[in-house]
């Protein structure tokens, strides 16, 4: 699965389960631009932890600290980070 998906797509797919596909896409694009200065699809695997840090406050607000950490851990596991 990871082999055919960009890192941003993996992040989007995981958070879309909770935020829905539209908001997940918006959130990943917005944070990639704001915090990393790149388009979401240009985010490298190494930049994913920084992207997850940027998404953290949003996820914490909607899911709580525990929920946000679980989602981030799942994404990192899938990307072998």
């Amino acid at each position: 699965m990871v082999g055919t998906q960009t890192p941003a797509e993996v992040v989007r797919a995981h958070i879309a389960r909770y935020l829905g596909p539209f908001t997940a896409k918006t959130a990943v694009q917005m944070m990639a631009k704001q915090k990393l200065g790149v388009d979401a699809d240009s985010v490298t695997r190494q930049q994913v932890p920084a992207l997850l840090d940027a998404l953290g406050p949003t996820l914490r607000t909607l899911m709580g600290k525990g929920g946000a950490e679980t989602v981030a851990a799942e994404i990192k596991r899938e990307l072998a980070l």
Binding site: A16, Y18, L19, G20, T23, T61, M63, G67
Partner: protein, 249 residues
Amino acid sequence: MKRLLLIPLVCAAIAAAGMLLEEPAAAKYYRAVLIAAALVTAVSAFATTRRFAPGDRLFASWLFVGIGYTLSTVRYSLRLIAMIRGGGDLLPRPALDALLILQNVAIAVALLMFVLAWNATGLSRHRPWLTALGIAVALVVGGYPLVQGWKGAGADTVLLISTLGDVVGIALIVPLATSALALRGGLLMHTWLYLALCEFFWMLYDIWLAVRGDAVGARASLGIEQMIRVAAIMFAFIATVAQRRAAPR
């Protein structure tokens, strides 16, 4: 998750059974159903609060929902006990009024905190016309009792504050619904949608009280009133459940 929607409908049907009873049994039955609805909602809201850390934004939101419905449970219970015992209320009028005011404030603050939390994510699209529409509807629906309360504020401060709470809640239907729309396709959509439906049903309740007149008999009128009330409370209940189910573990 969609099956949760059946709960308010089933509970409204349970409340409707009160129309088969004669007074005063009907009044006691409606009160008992309300107590059960408010109690399970309060307990469930506190259970959902525990899924968040005290620093999380939604911790306080769910806590206030729990406090609001706990106060409802206490008020409804005191009323039922007074009905069963006969005679006057168990607490002095100012104390009962204070409970009602605190309950309204707690729920209004909780809903406002939900909307502010969504805005804090930075994902909300500001649509001023939608916000204006929500406020306009709230003022139209709550306007009449609000003006009445204002005119006699000295005599009925409780009505004034209670209606103000309703106006705040109704005005927040639109922001809650637009949050749900943004989250469509995700598990969290259900929480926001059910909160919006809860406030929508409280709006229906206010509308029903204003328009019911003599359109239906007194027994049916009271039955419909109680059905809407119970459905509104149970939408809050399923919102608490939806939030817990959405959270990854």
